[in-house]
Symmetry: C2
Subunit: 108 residues, 2 copies
Amino acid sequence: MSCCEPESSALPPAVSADESARRRRLAELNKALGHPIRVEIVAILRRHETCLCGDIVELLPLAQSTVSQHLKVLKAAGIVQGEIDGPRTCYCLDPAVLDEYRSLAADL
Amino acid sequence: MSCCEPESSALPPAVSADESARRRRLAELNKALGHPIRVEIVAILRRHETCLCGDIVELLPLAQSTVSQHLKVLKAAGIVQGEIDGPRTCYCLDPAVLDEYRSLAADL
DNA sequence: TACCTTTATCGTTGTTCTACGATAAGAGGT
DNA sequence: ACCTCTTATCGTAGAACAACGATAAAGGTA
């Protein structure tokens, strides 16, 4: 019983559809960022040493195909955008989605 | 090229051990919170309708054993604490770990 | 056209996750 | 001691994940 003091008293008991959607979205973003390599990729893009796929591959101890798959996961969640530039692909973060993630995490 | 404007100029190129540990920890927390049911469990505990395992089970469309496994995952990540109270177990959030999660997410 | 470079996708293998029912373990009550 | 209630753990089956090498696709260059 000692661990169960309410931290806020007046909250609606019913679960809105919006809240449910927000939780699913947070779970989706968390899952995409639930691997150390993917967190590191985001950190690399934030640190902004580069945004070319090949350069990211060089910074990581993984095969090119594996990095490409991780980028695909981040892209599917919307965290990262890929812009084809000739034979290369230029990756960058989507700041809005990153904000969405931080906001959802802050609300949890 | 258009997607790659640096958002901050002076950052150390080398990766510190501390940064690496923080990324691993964030990945760990994200993974634990990377399932809709587990996010919902945290929301339930935050909303504070209850903290007894059985009551959580009643709020979810899953078998008791499945809920128990999800609670175990949250417990392993430190997000949740379980306090045995007679034949029951009283679950509650660890506010410090939740803060850690929000802080790491905010820094990403 | 024929290369070369870069990145995405395919196919495979081993691991991990998710869900369930069944069962064990612990606390109380009769 | 026995039974009941609650929760954790076991065992299992199917799905998803993670890594790799091999290969395809797309663009630039000689």
